[in-house]
Subunit: 180 residues, 2 copies
């Protein structure tokens, strides 16, 4: 369980990274940055900060912030109501992000699953994205991502987002957005 | 008809504005910036520069660049194939944009239709967006927009984009993307 002080601290750090990346938030948005620890209580290693600009039944846009070496754990977006699962395009705005998707393992990487959670990371086809690079993840495809040593700011463009339907490989995870 | 030299010049200016707004493009993207004069041959007054990051049947994301006081002329996105028209969210990243949509006229503005084209501007409900502000335009709604005195950089998140189906109020307009 995240304490309010942890949420506040993560918001301040995320807002500073967004500002450094040249991304302007309104004051209202700054205090609404979502801080997710995925129920593991280890935010700096497994966690994600994000702001959702718009989420309709037709499209969604977010900004994701990852602290240095912070990992968003492996998950997929399953089909729902006869529609294919969420499809998403990640575009790195600042820093570096190591994105792992299904496909042939790409070998040596400076990124690796959080210690103690290795069993819940099963896909190792790596894309390294720096500012200006982007990659589109097909629906229902397992993926996870980790920031480089300076953290990362990543724009996400996608079909409608339904975080509560995400399927995580790690059964301990509960995707409860913490909006303190 | 835009000359190649005009296109090249507009691309260089647009790329500089994106850079100033903190938005990183790849070298490939920089030379593919779309320059649209809408067939009116008066780019600095009626025109738009843009880069499309992704456009699928599920969602689309672009970055729009407007030079100082440049206007994107009035148009709407009609229904197509049983689906409602394109829905789009504008988020100002840098500068200021005056967005006009259907609704009660809001009165006094520092923006006005390009001289000589007044007849083709019919909606005057104004939203002024500065960095961090956003507004979602419903499907099939007439709208036009003009940058403030320093120009503007605007992110556009939307459903699938089919520019060739846009309906412009000005019958002289041909929405031919010029990718020189």
């Amino acid at each position: 369980m995240l304490r309010q002080a942890d949420v506040d601290d993560a918001r301040i750090r995320a807002a500073a990274m967004l500002e450094r990346a040249g991304i302007v938030l309104t004051p209202d948005e700054r205090v609404q940055i979502e801080v997710a620890d995925f129920g593991l209580g280890d935010l700096d290693r497994t966690g994600l900060q994000l702001i959702t600009y718009v989420n309709t039944d037709r499209y969604c846009a977010k900004e994701l912030v990852l602290f240095a070496r912070q990992t968003c754990p492996e998950h997929r977006h399953p089909p729902v109501g006869g529609e294919p699962g969420k499809m998403e395009t990640f575009r790195c705005r600042w820093g570096r992000v190591h994105l792992f998707v299904e496909g042939p393992a790409t070998g040596q990487s400076t990124a690796s699953p959080p210690a103690g959670s290795e069993a819940y990371y099963t896909v190792f086809h790596e894309l390294v994205l720096v500012a200006g690079d982007q990659y589109t993840i097909p629906p229902d495809t397992r993926h996870w991502f980790q920031a480089g040593d300076d953290g990362a700011v990543v724009a996400e463009f996608s079909s409608m987002s339904r975080d509560e339907l995400d399927v995580f490989t790690d059964p301990r995870i509960v995707r409860v957005p913490i909006v303190g």
